[in-house]
């Protein structure tokens, strides 16, 4: 029996053409003619190479994803309270948001930190702050994620030392630190050093963790921020995986065995509003990573090929208008992440287009995950969309788009060179502008923003950060500076600077300086004397 071609609509349709939010055309109907040529090989079985259907055989039947709400604001005491609140409400892992000065390597008393301390996350200057941040939380019993990149080595050192004080050795600490510096230059734009020394620090951390922290993920290769900066799903996928391959190549150049470090690389993706496209993105990511790790980088262990990821719903999809609608958006996005097989998930709060979330909004966001996990039934079977003609076709197209970008990046000489030439930055800026135009022309609808608007909205209560906390934090830092042994700090910083000028691994001197209570800003400044700083030439 002949299969009817279905690339032309058979009936009158609402729109001249249909496409995903990233612009991928959608056919009028999907059927057997869209099925993959070799489903055994490309789709396979959950828990088996190429892991298209999920990294583990039983998926959520075995264990639910980790519900990990990102939190951090104000001082370490306030964030510590929020951590305890979340753990008391059934959260199963911690995730720390740092403030802008901490992300950029400035101490709270630096002139550039003025007005920014504790605003978008928690301020951490020294080991004293880290001790307070995790006060009463047994580090042997939780896993912690820390979202920090350029100064990641310093925050990891602080964490290791807090563990040591609690009697938990590094090999028993579990968690993730973001450390993904390439996407900083591409999208999130929080940097301290030029690209090359920054890459060396990442490789130092991969190496040190491979030897000392077998339960730790030293890099979380992140597409989240690339997507938030306005990229398409295809760009998010391609640039993130290419960043990942670049870290693998650096570690191999360092002489590490791929199977010694690759199992500890993890990923972090956005969960945006175009439901099926997102599911296809996660499935394609797993398949590409598995294939490249095996065939290009010679991985032998399955763990090295098995892509595991954290997902966060799209902050950029939230609207300041009619904010309760965001609960619905976040639910759909979270559902896509779950159906795409995420290992952990952050759901955004409905008030986050306005400010950092209130406690009530955070609770609703966590409850959203619990409803998906425990009421909806979607966790009952692995990869329920596996074998769907539509999803498998979208997955294949997603993969093709990624390989097209890999080729273009290789043509300019790899990811680092592509970033220097502003290639990914320009692609993202173009995509982001195109989407905005589609909104302006109402070719895409955002409910409450360019359609179904409402003029008489009640103001939403928001979280206000007390401006007095900046003073509180700078006082705390002054107290640390006054009480520590100044000569010992000087010595440790001089040693860090000396090591920076060699090819030695910088983790040991960073830990030594952290132990001496040197501040984050002091350590960064010491390394900048050797490495220099970074300025971008922006494109728009």
């Amino acid at each position: 029996m002949a299969i009817e071609p279905r690339d032309k609509p058979a009936y009158k349709e609402r729109e001249a053409e249909f496409s995903t939010m990233s612009g991928q055309p959608i056919a009028p109907l999907y059927g057997p003619e869209h099925a993959p040529a070799d489903p055994e090989e490309t789709i396979g079985t959950p828990g088996e190479y190429p892991f298209t259907r999920g990294p583990y055989p039983s998926m959520y039947r075995g264990r639910l994803w980790t519900m990990r709400q990102f939190a951090g604001f104000g001082t370490v005491e306030e964030t510590n309270e929020r951590f305890h609140y979340l753990l008391d409400h059934g959260q199963t892992g911690l995730s720390t948001a740092f403030d802008m000065p901490t992300l950029m390597g400035y101490d709270s008393d630096h002139v550039r930190s003025l007005g920014e301390v504790g605003r978008e996350g928690v301020a951490v200057d020294t080991l004293d702050d880290m001790e307070q941040l995790f006060d009463g939380i047994p580090l042997g019993g939780v896993t912690t994620s820390m979202t920090i990149n350029a100064p990641a080595a310093i925050l990891l050192a602080f964490y290791v030392l807090v563990g040591e004080q609690q009697g938990v050795p590094p090999e028993k600490l579990g968690g993730t630190i973001q450390t993904d510096i390439l996407k900083e230059y591409i999208a999130q734009k929080e940097w301290c050093f030029p690209i090359e020394p920054a890459m060396r620090l990442v490789t130092d951390m991969i190496e040190w963790c491979a030897e000392n922290m077998p339960r730790w993920h030293p890099v979380s290769i992140s597409g989240y921020h690339i997507r938030e900066a306005g990229s398409t799903a295809q760009q998010e996928l391609a640039f993130t995986l290419k960043d990942g391959f670049t870290y693998v190549e650096r570690a191999l150049e360092r002489g590490l065995d791929v199977d010694d470090f690759a199992p500890r690389l993890s990923f972090f993706f956005n969960a945006h509003i175009d439901f099926f496209e997102e599911i296809a993105k996660y499935r394609a990511a797993r398949r590409i990573w598995a294939r490249e790790m095996k065939e290009t980088y010679g991985a032998k262990r399955e763990e090295s090929m098995r892509l595991r990821f954290h997902a966060q719903t799209a902050g950029v999809s939230l609207t300041a208008q009619q904010p309760l609608n965001n609960v619905v958006r976040t639910s759909l996005e979270a559902l896509a992440a779950v159906l795409g097989g995420t290992q952990s998930l952050h759901t955004n709060s409905f008030d986050e287009a306005l400010a950092l979330p209130t406690e009530e909004a955070v609770r609703v966001a966590l409850r959203t995950q619990q409803i998906i996990a425990l009421e909806s039934g979607v966790a009952n079977t692995p990869d329920p969309f596996g074998g769907s003609w539509f999803i498998e076709k979208l997955t294949d197209e997603m993969e093709e788009a990624a390989y097209d970008y890999f080729r273009r990046i290789d043509e300019v000489g790899g990811m680092v060179e592509a970033i220097r030439q502003n290639f990914p930055q320009r692609e993202i800026a173009d995509a982001s502008f195109r989407f905005q135009q589609e909104l302006n022309e109402r070719r895409r609808i955002v409910v409450g923003v360019n359609d179904f608007t409402q003029d008489d909205e009640e103001p939403t209560p928001i979280l206000r950060i007390d401006p007095a906390l900046e003073r509180k934090q700078t006082d705390r830092l002054a107290a640390t500076r006054a009480s520590r042994d100044g000569a010992e700090v000087e010595k440790a910083l001089a040693e860090l600077k000396r090591a920076a000028a060699t090819e030695e691994n910088l983790m040991p001197p960073i830990i030594a300086a952290a132990r001496a209570r040197a501040s984050e800003g002091e350590m960064i400044a010491a390394m900048q004397e050797v490495f220099g700083t970074y300025t971008e030439s922006p494109v728009f």
């Binding site: 950029m104 502008f433 302006n440």
Partner: protein, 139 residues
């Protein structure tokens, strides 16, 4: 014989502070440029001093400050003060970003002409700047 030629509106789009969220700033910069204005985008991580200096050096008609870090009540007043201290009083100052509603009257009191919050249309922003940037002709 010679008539005054209308000069293109010159706009500085600036990212004050440590905030790295530049999606909005870049979209606005591009929309203003597409609307025929001359756009100077400062790039990220600018101090208020650097921004004021750029506005003066570029002889800008308008400056758009994009802030999504919550530091607007520290950074915006500084830029406004620095411009005033240099005797600059004809530059249209606008702010865009995650600015809570109750901060808007205070910013306007300082001399900010308009605050654009998430969801504001680029066309509205372009129109506002075109209509309100001081008309200046090169003679």
């Amino acid at each position: 014989m010679s008539t005054a030629t209308a000069r293109k509106i010159r706009v500085v789009v600036a990212k004050p502070g440590l905030d790295g969220h530049d999606r909005g700033a870049k979209i606005i910069a591009r929309a203003l440029r597409d609307a025929g204005m001359e756009v100077i985008y400062t790039g990220l991580h600018q101090t208020p001093e650097q921004i004021a200096e750029t506005v003066i050096q570029e002889d800008a008609d308008a400056v758009g400050l994009s802030i999504l870090s919550g530091a607007h009540m520290t950074l915006v007043p500084k830029v406004v003060e620095l411009l005033a201290a240099q005797g600059v009083d004809d530059v249209l100052v606008t702010v865009g970003g995650t600015i809570p509603a109750e901060d808007i009257p205070e910013l306007k009191k300082l001399g900010v002409a308009e605050v654009f919050t998430p969801g504001a249309g680029t066309d509205d922003i372009v129109d506002f700047i075109r209509d309100n940037a001081a008309e200046r002709d090169d003679v």
